[in-house]
Structures are given as C-alpha cells and as structure tokens.
C-alpha cells in the first residue's frame, strides 16, 4: 500500500504562550511533532506493517519543520517531504489544504492519507477533511479504530467517535483518515531510526513544484492575537474538622453563590 501521513510542527503543549509584536510567542519552548500526529504516524506504520508498502511523511511549514519530519522518519517512515514556500507562510486551512492536496497528487497512487485530529496550535480540526474534499475522496474523521482494511478490495471500515457514540463506516479507498488519540499508543523512535533520520535528505517542494502557481490568497486574516486575562483567582479553602463538615461547608458556599 502507498501510505501518506501529514504532520505539522507545533510548540510543545507545556509551553507558556504570550503575545509579542501582535503574534503568538512560545519563548524558547521546544517545537515538537504535533501530539495528535504521533497517532497518525503510528497508524500509518501499523498499516504498513500489516499490509506492506511504504509510508511517506509530509509536512507544510517553514524549513525548521524538517525536525518534525525527522521524528516521523525516526519512528519508521520510509521517506519525508517538506512543502515550504514563503508564499504559504500565512496560509489558512483553505490554502493549506490546497497545498497538501496538490502535493499528495504528485505522489504515485496513494491508497490512504492519515492526519491527526487537530494541530495543537491552530486547533481548527478541518485540514484533514478539507484535503479529502479537494482530492474527491471520502473523509473519515475522528477515527478511533480501524476494524477492517482490505487492500485488494480497496475498502476500509472504521469506528468514528461522535458525541452520540461510535459510528461504524465502510468506505472505498483511497480515503483520508483523521485519527483521535484512542486509536493506538505511539511508539518511541528507535536508536537505529534516529541515526537513519539524522542522515536523511528531506526534499523541499515549493509552491511551483506542486503546481500551485500563482498561489491563491488565503481567505482569512488574523487582525489581533490576544492573551486572555483571567482575573487572579484566590482560592477559598472550605474549612471543617471532618470530611462531613468540609462537604457541608462547600455545599453552603455553592448554594450561596447560586452555583447549584
């Protein structure tokens, strides 16, 4: 099977975010492979291990995003491609999905493309579905399990995690599958994997390399980034000698404040 996994580089989830010069700043916090994408990479690797084939990791981002692709290689992906172009720097999801779809089309006959549910920086949760729409493939979003995959018949059956329960869906391949955390436990990169990744040459595709010329204008702009102010909260500790007294005191306060 020809498997593609799309990944993004994001600030570590433990980073403290501030606004510097009108844009988000994470100070010197490390940049990491977007945590949701670890599940996507893992699922891509498991799919290859079960059915054969190869896994291509693909990222859209600045040159520094190579580091995240190296992590995907270290986990076991066969090759990596970085789409990078100054004209794509302020891409919204409409433009990002156009670039990713254009790049995927240049890969010979992919059977399946994996995404993580969201990127922890922009939190849009729409890029995977939008890439599917652009490719004209089914979008299988919020996938918590793959119950069947038949490369010969080119079909896949997945469980989608919706508010009301798990929806079972059968789809033809190729398809775009966006995964949630429950689907697997991502592996750590192996020592050999890290060595291989450190030597890997990662090709860079520009907007014209993927045929996105001229680059369309993004639809969205972000006039202002704001650090939310949360009124300094001083915690009121309820007192009591016994758990019963503490509980009673808390209930009184919650009722007084009309919270219940």
């Amino acid at each position: 099977m020809k498997i593609v996994v799309c990944v993004k580089q994001t600030p570590d989830t433990a980073a403290t975010l501030t606004v510097v010069g009108g844009v988000a700043s994470w100070g010197d916090a490390p940049l990491v492979l977007n945590p949701w994408d670890e599940y996507a990479v893992e699922q891509a690797l498991r799919t290859k291990e079960a059915h054969g084939g190869s896994v291509t990791a693909m990222s859209l981002g600045p040159q520094a995003a190579k580091e995240s692709l190296k992590q995907a290689l270290a986990m076991g992906c066969d090759e990596a491609i970085l789409i990078s172009d100054p004209a794509l720097e302020r891409a919204d999801s409409l433009l990002a999905s156009a670039a990713l779809a254009a790049a995927i089309k240049r890969i010979d006959a992919p059977d399946i493309v994996f995404f993580g549910k969201a990127a922890v920086d922009t939190d849009t949760e729409v890029t995977g579905p939008q890439v599917a729409r652009r490719l004209g493939w089914p979008s299988l979003n919020l996938v918590a399990a793959i119950s069947e995959l038949d490369p010969a018949a080119k079909t896949i059956t997945v469980e989608r995690l919706l508010e009301e329960g798990r929806q079972l869906v059968r789809s033809p391949l190729p398809a775009v599958v966006s995964v949630v955390k429950e689907i697997n436990e991502p592996r750590y990169p192996s020592f050999m994997g890290i060595r291989k990744a450190s030597k890997a040459e990662i090709p860079i595709w520009s907007a014209s390399d993927i045929g996105l010329q001229p680059v369309p204008e993004p639809a969205l702009t972000w006039p202002e980034v704001i650090a939310p102010v949360r009124a300094e909260q001083s915690c009121e500790f309820v007192s009591g000698e016994t758990p019963q007294q503490q509980a009673a005191a808390l209930v009184e306060r919650l009722i007084e404040e009309k919270l219940i």
Partner: protein, 342 residues
Amino acid sequence: MLLVYIDHFGGKPPVAAWEALGAGSLFVTGSDLKAVVMGSGVEALAGEAIAHGAHSVLLADDDRLKEFRPEVYADGLSQIIRQSGADIVLFPTTSRARELAALVAVDLDTGITPDAIQLVRQNGAIVATRPIYAGKLLTTEVNLARRPQLLTVRGRSFPAPDSDPTRSGEIARIELGLAQPRTEVLGYKQSGGGVSLSDAAIIVSGGRGVANNPALHPPPELTNEKEQEIWRAREGFKLVGELAGVLGAAVGASRAAVDAGYIPYAHQVGQTGKVVSPDLYIACGISGAIQHLAGMRTAKTIVAINKDADAPIFKLARFGVVGDLHQILPALTSALRQRLGK
C-alpha cells in the same frame, strides 16, 4: 442573508444547534433569520427551528440524507447555500457540523472559522474571536473578501433562545441533486461514546487520585497489581458518578486516568481530549497539569478536591477542599442530597 445550519442526530438537535440560531439572531434585522434543516423525516425539526426563533426554514427532507454522511450532506448544503445567496452561514461546533462546514468551505472556495466564542460585525464582515493553543491565546479572525463567511460557534458561548410553539414561519422544501454516496454507515456502538461533555452545565472530573484508596481491598481473585489499581479506580469513579448524578452533571477525567484504563477516552478533558466550558467544574484528584487546564480553564467556577494543598489546580479554583476524595465525595453527595431534597 444569514443561514443557520441546524445539526441533529436522528432528528434530535443538541442545545448547541439552538445556540447557533441565537448567535444568528444577533445579526439579522427584520424577519430574515433562516435555518437549514437536512435529513430524512425531519419536518418536525423544521417546526422546532421556527419555535426557537427562525423566521423561515429551508428543508431538505430526503431518504438519501437518513444517515449523516459528510460528503453527501456537503453536496446538499453547498447547493442550498449557492441557491440562497447567503453571505453568512453559522453552524454549531459539533463533530458533524464542524466537518460539514470544512467540506462546504472547499466547495464554495471560502474561509472556515471554527469554534468562535464571540462574533461582531465590522464594515460588513463578521469578526470572530476564537481560542488557539488550547485557549492559552485568543485570536480574532475575519474573512474580508470571500463570501459566504462560514463559522461554527462553540457550545455554551451564545444563549439558546427559548422555544415558543406559537411562533410561525414558512417552511420551504428543497429538492437536491445528490450523487450516489460512496460510504456506508453500518451502525452505531454506544460504548466509548455517548458522553456529552460539551453541552454539560456541570462536570465532575476524576484524575489519578481516584485510584488512590489503599484502605479499599480488592476481591481476592485480583492478584495482579494493575488489575487491583483499575478495580480501585472504578470504585473511585463510582463516587465521582454518584456526585455527578445528584448534580445532573457529566463525568470527565484527566488523561492520566484515561491512559491508566480507569475510564474511556471519550471522557478526557484537556488539550488532547475535550475542551469544555461548563458553569461549574469539580476536579477530584487532578493535579492541574497545563494540558488539563487547557481543556477546562474557561469553566465559570472551578472547585478542586485534592489531598495536596499545593496542587496547581488550586491556583485556578474558586473553592478548594483539601482532603481525601474518597471521604469528601460521599460526604458531599449525601450533603447535597439532603440540601437539594433528592
């Protein structure tokens, strides 16, 4: 013209659908609040939309829309939007509607702003405010040049209008040209889903501390330590569930509790779980790691129960109880039963 997409599951809308209608009503003058209802056998829902304040409804009632298949719904909704000439389309931020909006944005070559918590109109465009970096920052976002503007509004950010069955309005039926669907919905499994954290006004959450009750002795057939821990945790989550029961609350969890197998992932609150903003959030045996706080910091009031008075969760909490949750929770449940007469 403004359209509001009414999301539903088998004809039943989440509260968020009416909240989106409420958000829409802020931007219409006169009687121009239009709702879109799609599905099979959903005429009653169109009536409910009128009762909730829609002045008219575009109704696509079609057998082929019986199951929610994003690609089929997107085909239909894109046609409806094109025909209506709408320049703003609002959706609730539900799993279904968010994806649908994303697909429609591609069809109509326009922007999609998901999860808005605030909307204002400026110079003819809607400027939305939305959380980024799991709510550590907010950004304004605007689609200046392309129409329609597509936005999904976060649950509990806009008031849901009251239902008034005496309201009347026109229901216009629409015929759609739909391609043969390629995906097939085989059915539903309830396990692991069915947790509506986003709509809940009160959430009681448990963390790793829920398993920490050495006084509790597991049945002798459980010899393995991990099994004993999970058994203890499940007993602990019963206490969380009972408190949630008296409060009419939903049950949440930290990632540590989910990863340890105490409770299914659908309950996880935080950066890699659900982002929630209830009126009241009660954190039991949760330390308050930054990734957990990201998912619940916008709760109006936070109560923390933790045996460690220095736990970071207390920094965000309005009320704190320092103690063993295994003793506090049953006491709290029975005190509430008495006071609330339940």
